[in-house]
């Protein structure tokens, strides 16, 4: 055997545990079974105590077998209560969890009475976790379970995904959903039970839920969620052990995982609070800018020869502006307008963008008016998307309608706007906008 210091062992062990908790936890969380892990952890206690009373030693394998048995018994109990009485699943889980845990605590106090010899057995570690007790043999068990979990999920990814998302549909295709479900729960049970002596009954729940819930914030694909959950669990194990050298390690690991979660709530892309606020801000900005360009275009449209010089006051009166000056300055920086004291003028670039925006806007407007019921589904789309959203035939029809009213902005079609030109406002776009 390789010689490892205790700290190394603890770090490797907790990292392994964190990684696999993340993977099995992801499926549990998505299947709405977060609390099943909690129940398994609590329900394991009487099994552990009974196994100890039977075997008489604290062998990880023996105690785990006991834990697994009472865990399975608890699952059967919950399933039967839900099936045969009108109790809801969460209530049933609460009942079974506390009953089993109560029984476990009673057994534990019996074992620890002088004469039974359990006081030195250290069964307490199952309550609060004691990674410091980790032996090399325990590491081997963790590694074996970890590999088994990875192999299972690797082989049955498609099946688990289908059952978690839509088990009725899965069953209609002939998948044995009940057995797949049980298999998922069994892997959850095994991971929970090997994790018990490390982080303890109460904190094991957190190891199941936290990495999965954290990963969910970062991705919309199950595949990546599993990988991220494993990574978060692993990192929580390593970092927590290291940070909590002089603290109860189980608690330190869980607090680290919780810190990941809180940071993710704040900073995750799309779902994070900060990015949501940012996106909202950017959206408001974009709307305002589009209003500016469209207003300038429409004001110019009214004039002879589409003259593009607009008096500032006319623009100010055209609609309500929150901060027109700033908006104009930004547009000038973008190279969309030329700005002087009294007048504002669309540059060729600005003219073209304005024409495109106005066209899309008017197509939408017309579409929504003409196809009232149908359009309701599409109205939240960005105006730019109009050409991708509507069938081509309808688009042509709408364009012709606009043209007949003389309201179809002419957009230069041949040369698509290149993003490079947008970056350098000094260079003029190659094609003149149609006037």
């Amino acid at each position: 055997m390789i010689n490892l210091s205790l700290t190394d062992k603890v770090m490797i062990g907790t990292a392994l545990l964190g990684g696999m908790s993340g993977v099995v936890g992801s499926f549990a969380v998505l299947r709405g079974r977060s609390l099943v892990g909690d129940m398994l952890a609590h329900a394991a206690l009487p099994g552990i105590c009974l196994a100890f009373l039977v075997i008489g030693t604290k062998s990880l394998l023996g105690l785990s077998a006991g834990a697994l048995l009472s865990g399975l018994l608890a699952i059967v109990a919950v399933t039967s209560i839900v099936r045969w009485t009108r109790t809801k699943e969460d209530a049933a889980i609460g009942i079974v969890l506390s009953t089993f845990f109560g029984a476990g605590v009673v057994l534990l106090s019996l074992i620890q009475k002088p004469g039974v010899g359990g006081s030195k057995a250290g069964l307490d570690s199952y309550l609060f976790g004691e990674p410091g007790n980790m032996l090399t043999g325990d590491l081997v068990v963790l590694a074996v379970v970890g590999v088994a979990v990875l192999a299972t999920v690797g082989l049955l990814f498609k099946e688990f995904e289908l059952v978690c998302f839509d088990s009725d549909f899965a069953q209609s295709q002939g998948w044995p959903t009940l057995r797949l479900d049980l298999f998922m729960m069994a892997s959850l049970a095994v991971v929970t039970i090997v994790g018990l002596p490390i982080v303890g009954v109460i904190l094991m729940t957190a190891m199941i839920i936290l990495p999965a819930a954290t990963a969910r914030l970062w991705t919309n694909r199950l595949r990546y969620m599993l990988q991220l959950a494993a990574a978060f669990g692993l990192a929580a194990g390593l970092l927590g052990t290291w940070l909590g050298r002089d603290l109860p390690a189980g608690a330190a690991i869980v607090l680290t995982a919780a810190a990941f979660f809180v940071l993710s709530i704040l900073f995750a892309p799309q779902r994070g609070i900060v990015s949501r606020l940012m996106a909202e801000y950017r959206y408001r900005k974009r709307i305002e800018r589009e209003h500016l360009l469209r207003s300038l275009y429409e004001l110019g449209e009214g004039k002879a020869d589409h003259e593009s010089t607009i008096e500032l006051q006319a623009l100010r009166d055209y609609r309500y502006w929150r901060s027109l000056t700033k908006l104009l300055e930004q547009a000038a920086d973008e190279g969309e307008v030329n700005l002087t004291q009294q007048v504002v003028e669309l540059t060729p670039l600005g003219q073209r963008r304005a024409a495109r925006l106005t066209k899309a806007h008017r197509l939408w407007e017309l579409y929504m008016v003409q196809h009232v019921g149908i359009a309701s589904d599409h109205v939240d789309r960005d105006a730019d998307d109009v050409e991708h959203m509507l069938p081509e035939g309808l688009l042509i029809e709408l364009e012709q309608k606009l043209a007949s009213e003389g309201r179809l902005p002419e957009v230069a079609q041949e040369v698509p706007l290149s993003p490079h030109q947008l970056d350098s406002p000094s260079s003029e776009p190659p094609s003149e906008p149609s006037s």
């Binding site: 998302f165 009725d168 549909f169 919309n220 694909r221 199950l222």
Partner: protein, 253 residues
Amino acid sequence: MSIAFEIHDLTVAYQRRPVLWDVDLTVPEGSLVGIVGPNGAGKTTLIKAALGLVPLASGKVEIYGRSYSEQRNLVGYVPQRESVDWDFPVTVRDVVLMGTYGRLGWFRRPGRAEREIAARCLEQVGMSAFANRQIRQLSGGQQQRVFLARALAQDAELYFLDEPFAGVDAATEAAIFELLQTLRSDGKTVLVVHHDLQTVSEYFDHVILLNMRLIACGPVETTFTNENLQKTYGGRLTILDEAAEAMRQRDGA
């Protein structure tokens, strides 16, 4: 014409309370069938029984003359939209790919052939532009169309659709209707749980009237009558008014 779907003496009970009594019916191949009845009439249960999703207290279900478990690959299924968690971390394409899982079998992952099928089915329901969207970002009608695409990917002969028209926008309703027509012209058989009595005659050529027991089953012209609707809906006046309105519209047409 051959028989696509047949039910003999079907009784289904939830906790010893029967939901469907002694239902007997046959559906000819290539027909569009509306399943109509009041709430709690057992419409969804009928579909679930046909698909083997609920245990049968008695009776049997046959698909092209054989049991469901033998004919699974001939059947496509669109569950009610609310039956799944739309916040699940999958994209539109992932969901449609699930339609191919039944044929793929154990352990095999969907490959290029399956992705092509999925792309084609998305095209058919007009959702190609959304293939990479997370499903939560879709409107109700779009979600419904994704479910339809998934059923199309099953490449079945017989389709069961559970309330595909519920809570969808007019564009989706039109798209579904068009899709039903296409399926029929391809010789497929489609059974649809449907709520809107006014559109029954327009959308379907057969109708199953259900209220815990089978009231009537047959071609719309002869089966979707005022008398049968009375029997199906009993004394519920508002619904009967609606039905009368539907009658008028049909007779006017």
